[in-house]
Symmetry: D2
Subunit: 287 residues, 4 copies
C-alpha cells in the first residue's frame, strides 16, 4: 500500500473539445481516485487543451502498470499526448557547471536540506574547480575538459556518463559551453538552462555588459528548456531586479547571481513536481 502522501500526476494535452475535463475526472473518480489538484488551461487561439491532475494513490483502485491500457480509450478518442508520474519516484538530476559556482552551491544546498524530492546523480564540469565541493557532498564529479578541437569527443564522454548514471534530466547551472544539436536532441525538454538576462533581451555572451551599455533600469534572468537554437527554447521562469545608473557592470553581475540561482531553482522545482507542459515553444506551468 502506498504511503498516504504518495500521489500520481497526469499531464495531458490534446485538441480542445467538449467534455475533456468531465472525461478525465470521471476516469479517475471511477477508479476511486481522490483528485487533490486539477489545473487545466485552454489555448483558445490554437484550440489546445492542457491539464495536470494529481490524485491520492491511497485507495486508487487501478494499478499504475494497468493505467496505460485502461486509459487508452480516452486518450485515443481525444488524441491526447500524456505522461504519468508518481510522486514516490525521485527524479535523478545531472548538473553541468563551469567556473561560476553560485548556482551549483544553491542546488547542492537545496538537495542536502531535503527541499527537493530529487537526487543529484552526478556533476559534470569542463573545469576541475568544484571537484572537492561536489565530492564532499558524496556526489560523483566528472571533470571533462573541452578543448577547442575536442568538443565532439568530450560530448560523447558526457553522454556516456549521463546514460550510465540513468539521469532523468540535466541542469545547466551556468555551464558556459554550447551543446551540440545532437546532445540537445538526446534530452528533449529535459535540459534546463539559466541565462543571465531577461530573454529575449541580451541573448548570447556577456549579457550584463550589454545591459549596462544599453542603460536598462531593470535586469533579469531566464530559465528555459534548451533547444537547438541558442537561448531560444521555451521559457519556464523569469525574474528581475531594479538597478540604477549607480550600478556598474560588477554590481549587475553581483545582483544577477542571486536572480540566477533563484530563477533556476524555481524552474527546477516546477520540473521536479511535474508542472510543466510545452507547446509551440511556450510553456504551461501549473503552479
Amino acid at each position: 500500500m502506498p504511503p498516504p502522501s504518495a500521489t500520481a500526476i497526469l499531464l495531458v494535452s490534446c485538441p480542445d473539445q467538449h467534455g475533456i475535463v468531465a472525461a478525465l475526472s470521471a476516469f479517475i473518480t471511477g477508479h476511486n481516485g481522490n483528485i487533490i489538484a486539477l489545473d487545466q488551461y485552454v489555448d483558445t487561439v490554437d484550440g489546445v487543451f492542457f491539464a495536470r491532475m494529481e490524485w491520492d494513490m491511497q485507495g486508487f483502485a487501478l494499478p499504475l502498470d494497468h493505467f496505460n491500457t485502461a486509459f487508452a480509450s480516452i486518450a485515443d478518442s481525444h488524441q491526447m499526448e500524456w505522461r504519468l508520474h508518481q510522486s514516490a519516484t525521485r527524479p535523478r538530476m545531472a548538473v553541468m557547471v563551469s567556473r561560476q559556482g553560485h548556482c551549483l552551491y544553491d542546488i547542492l544546498a537545496r538537495t542536502e536540506c531535503g527541499e527537493w524530492p530529487a537526487d543529484i546523480a552526478c556533476v559534470l564540469s569542463n573545469h576541475a574547480d568544484h571537484a572537492s565541493l561536489v565530492e564532499r557532498h558524496g556526489i560523483p564529479f566528472h571533470h571533462i575538459p573541452m578543448p577547442p578541437n575536442g568538443k565532439a569527443e568530450a560530448e560523447q564522454q558526457q553522454l556516456q556518463l549521463l546514460r550510465t548514471a540513468h539521469i532523468d534530466f540535466i541542469v545547466l547551472a551556468r555551464y558556459m559551453q554550447i551543446l551540440s544539436p545532437e546532445f540537445v536532441t538526446a534530452f528533449p525538454c529535459r535540459i534546463l538552462n539559466i541565462h543571465h538576462s531577461f530573454l529575449p533581451a541580451f541573448a548570447g555572451a556577456r549579457p550584463y555588459h550589454a545591459a549596462y551599455d544599453r542603460g536598462v533600469k531593470i535586469i533579469g534572468a531566464t530559465a528555459h528548456y534548451v533547444t537547438a537554437a541558442l537561448d531560444e527554447g521555451p521559457i519556464i521562469e523569469q525574474d528581475v531586479i531594479r538597478v540604477s545608473h549607480r550600478q556598474g557592470v560588477e554590481d549587475l553581475i553581483r545582483l544577477g547571481r542571486d536572480l540566477e540561482k533563484i530563477v533556476l531553482s524555481r524552474a527546477i522545482y516546477a520540473h521536479l513536481t511535474h508542472r510543466i507542459l510545452t507547446y509551440k515553444n511556450r510553456t504551461v506551468v501549473f503552479n
Copy 2:
C-alpha cells in the same frame, strides 16, 4: 440568440468530495455548453471546493431562467453555494470618494475608454470638489456632507440614493469616512475599498506617516472587501513599490497614489468579471 461572445459564468463553492468537477462539466456539456474557462481550487486544509466555469452562450441549450431548476439536483446533492452571472449584463457601480481624486479620475477614464464592461451609476461624496469632473462625464454626482453629529442621517440618504440607482456594487475610491455596520451589512462582499498600506501593516489612519516612521523599505496598497471590522475584510489584491531613506512622507504619498489606483482597478476588474469567491475572510481570485 446571444451574440457570439456572450458567456455565462458560474461560481461555486461546496464541501470537497469526489467527482464535483466531473458533475459540473457534465452538466454544462450535457446542455451543449462549450466551456471556455474552468478554474477550480480545493482548500485541502478545510476541505472546501471552489470553481469558476465560463461557457459560450451560443448553442447552450438551457435557457438561463430554467438554470436554477435544472441545476438544483447537482447543487443540493453537493451542498453548493453558487452564483450565475452573464457577461452580457453590465454591472452598475457606485463610487464613493472624498477629496483625493486620483482613484476617481482613473475609474472614470477606464469606464470612458471602454476598458471595463460596467457602468458608473452615480458618484457620492462628502465633499463637493469633484462635482464638475463627474458631471462632465454625464454621471450623477451627489454631494452628501458628513457633519459629525449627522452621520447616521447622511448614511440613510446615501443608502436611499444607492437603492434608487439600482447599483450592484460600491467602490470606495479613497473615501475617508468609516461606514456603519448597517451600511456594510447592506452590501455583503459588494463594497470594495482601497487602503493605502500593505495590510495588515499600518491599518487605520495616516499609513504613509506610520510607514515613514517605521522606516520600511517597501510600501504597498491593498484592495479588500469592506466588513464591519475596519481594514480587516478579505483582501482581493495588493501591490508594493520599493522606497529608500531618500523618500520623505510626501514622496511616499506621491508614489502610493499610483499603487492605490492600479491595485484598486485590478480588484474592480476581478470583481466585474466575476472572478472572486470569499471564504473565511480570504478570497479566491481566479485570474
Copy 3:
C-alpha cells in the same frame, strides 16, 4: 523675494577630478545658498562626474541672471556642461497621441489634480478621437492627419504649432507614428516616449504579440528619450509585471496599459523636476 519653497536646480557633468563637489558646494554656500539636495555620481569607467544640486532661493545672494557670469570660472576650469532650472518656472509640455487614450487620460488627470508642476500647452494627434476630451480640459487640441504621402508636410505643421506654443518638451503618449530625424533633432533629450515592451526586447511594432509568441513570463514598458534610431534612445524608466500562460495577447495588452501609463508618468515626473542627465545613450536619474 521668492516664496520660501522656490528652489534652483543645477545639473552638471564634466570630466571627473579632485575637488569638484567641494568647489560646487563652496560656490553655492559662498553665496549664502542652503543646499537642500545634493546628488552626485561618478562613472568611474569613463571618468565622468555628474551632479544635481538643489538649493533654497530664499536668502541666496546671487541673482540668477548673474549666475552665468559668476559660475563661469568654475564651469570653465572643470569643462562643465551645466543647466540651471528654477522650480518656480512651470515647464510647458506638448502631448502627442494617436487612438489609444489611456496615457493621455492619465496625464490630463495628473495635471488637473495639481500632481505635476507643469502645464499642458497643447495636444497633437493624427486622429480626431480625443478632441472633446482634451478640449473639455481647456487645452488646445490639434488634429493633424498623417496621410502616407503627406507626412513631411504634416510634421512641418506640427513643428509650427509646437514653436508657437512655446513648449519645453514633448510627451509621446502612445503616438504610433515614427518621427523624422529632423523632428527629433529639433528637440534633443526633450521628447519622451513610452514603448510597450521591456526594451531592448521587442522593439518595433506589436510587442505584446511578440511577447506572447516568445512565451515570456514577465512583460514590461520602457520610457525613453527619442533619438533618431527607433526605440534606441536613452532609457529613463522601466517596469514589469508577471504574466503566465493563462494570459492571452488581449490580457497582455490590458495589463500593459497600466504599466505604460505609470512608467511614462514616472519619466515625466523625473524630467519635470530636472533629475535626468544623459551620457553615452544612458541616463543618470537622481531620485
Copy 4:
C-alpha cells in the same frame, strides 16, 4: 603602500548646516585623497545630515592613525558622529542558527565563493544539526543548548565565545531564540536578524501561518538590526513575492525561504561594505 584597490570609508552624521559637504570633500581632497564615492542625504524633517565618503588610499597623504587628530576640528565644529573603515580590513562575522539551514548554507556558500570581503569567525547553534556542515568548511561550530531554565547561563557562554573570537558583528540566520537585552546591548547595531515577514506585519512567531490566515496576496521578509524590542529594530532591507489563494502554508514557507536568504544576504553585504547609518530607528543605506 596599500594595494591600488584599497579604500577608506568615512560615515558621518551631524546636525545639518551650510557647507558640510564642502568641508568634508575639502578635507579629503586637501590630503590628496581621490574621492571615488560620495553619497549624502539630509533628513530635512529632523535637520540631520548623513554622508558616506570612500576614497582611494593610494596617494592619500594622511596616515590613518593620524586621521582622528587631523579630522577633529571639522568633526567637533559640526558635532559629527563618525566612523572610519578600511576596505582592506576583513570584518569577522559570527553566525547564530537553529534548525533551519537555508540561510546558513547561503552564507557559507557566499563566503566560500569569495563573494563577500569577510570571514566567518564561528557558528553558534542551540542545536547540533549543522555541526558537520560548518566544520567541513573549516569553521568552528559551537553547540550551546538552550534549556528553558538555563538561558542566562547559555548566553554567558555565547558571549564568552564571541569575545574570544574577536567578532565584529553577528548574523542571526533564522536563530529562533530571543536574545536578552543584555546580549543585544553588547552589540549595538551589530546584530542582523532576518524576520520571515514583511514587518511590521506579522511580527512574532509563525508569520507564514498568520499571513495565510489573513489571506495576503504578497508575502515578505525583513532584515533588521536587533534591538531590545522584538522585531522592532531599524529595517535594513525588505523584499516580497506574490502569492495567491493556491499557495498553502507549506508553499509560503517554501517561497519564503528564498526571500529570507536573499534579503538577509543583501543586508549583510550593505553592512560589510559600510553603507548603513542608523537614526531614530531608521536606516540610511547608501547603495
